[in-house]
Amino acid sequence: MSKPLEIMNLHKRFGGLVAVKDVSFKLQPGEVVGLLGPNGSGKTTVLNMISGALPCDGGTVRIGGTDITMMKPHKVAKHGVARTFQLVRPLPTLSVAENVQLSLAFGKKRHWGREARALAEEKLAFVGLEGRGDERVGNLTYIDQKRMEMARALASEPDLLLLDEWLAGLNPSELRIGIDLVQNLQGQGMTVLLVEHIMEAVRALCSRCIVMSAGEKIAEGPSAEVLQEPAVIKAYLGDDHA
């Protein structure tokens, strides 16, 4: 059910600032790849361009051979790209189940009515929110809101999942739960692009990593090797440690 993602020479300026500069990479179906880099290096901007939230100033994005470069977010979603947000964004007027049903109704297929409700419960159970569908999202704890956001993303039946620091802000035991969840997805063959700062998570989940610094891709390869590269250490920790 997964499709490959191919990004070529992606470019984005904000006024005078070049936020993303000539970034290219590929994800094979079923791969979980980490997108790393210090704050402000352009990771979220890359995700925004893939998902259609921001128009690109140059370059192409292809998913499974389809060019989705200048598509609006709702079209991109229908082409099988789902995402979560760096700061969790629940829809407070909707119940937990309705948050998930939204993606079911407007994702790749149009699930509605009783069938959709059952599917929403299924997605909620998968992320560990079994039987919580009727609750207000405002009453959920932080990790439960993150879980709900994951369920909402999965409900559109994506081929590619973009996770923007989805594991950030969790305590150690919650982090374990979060990592297990992504591993379950991996087991199902989902392609995941994972923006992450937590090295424990990157080592556990990502076979490969891409590292950005100041808008440019500075390294790419198997996680264990990439994290040892001097340029990567320098980007993360400053010159003194290189």
Partner: protein
Amino acid sequence: MNMKTLHGFALAGVAVVLLACAPLLISDYWTGVLLGMTGYVTLATAWALFSGPTRYISLATVAFFGVGAYTVAVLNEVMPYPLVLLCAAGIGMIMALMVGLSTLRLAGVYFVIFTFGLAELVRQTVSWWEVNVTYTMGRYIFLPFEGRHIYWQLLALAVVTFLISWAIGRSRFGLALKALGDDETVAAHAGVDVTRIKLLLFVISSTIITLVGAIQAPRWTYIEPSIVFNPTVSFMTLIMALLGGAMRLWGPLVGAVPLFLLFEWLSVSFPDHFSIILGLLFILIVFVMPNGVLAKIDDLRKGGRT
């Protein structure tokens, strides 16, 4: 459809039949009151159809209402009445499409200001046109309607409006509307074509509002821009919907009925202070129950139980 919905429909059906029979039993004065009330219930419900879930506060109500009334005034002598209504609906629809395409990108207060400006612009344009092009200051509408005839038409429109609102509320578009009212970005990434749904709802809502103006027009006999483009119509519609709760099917009705009666009484008893009282009421409603009476009652009930 479950039992509760069926009961609801049966009850609503009986209420509509009773309301339809009312003019045969009550005086012309009270039929007039009922007529005005039904007009505002329809306006508030149609307004809430779009503005409730999306939270785009529109003050363009009177622009569409007035255009509806003017269409009837201009066309009532050249074509049969049903065709006039159809024209009014068509003009309202086209105007809503143009306004929607150019403004639904605006967020929050900019949208409010634009819609208010739009109503003024339409009024000034019509005035200018009448004075400089057609050389008419006002227009007469001679249609063989009595109060009750107009009232029955409005009642039918109100029923249709409720049915549309109910159907949208149950559909996936209802869910999408609520979602985009919360967070347009999230709704878009979930697959919702935000622009199109907003536009669609704005057009439906504005077309109904135009029809209310068109149907009510014969009531005046004589109209001019200052009468049918009176901004008070926009404000009253807004307050009524907010008082009852713009997010619920019955909210606008619950707000419109008491407020219409109150406004009737105020405008007769305190004609000079009417706008001040209106303003104060508005502030009071927004501060005391921003989500409307029905939500407040829900809160109180829940509070009582726990």
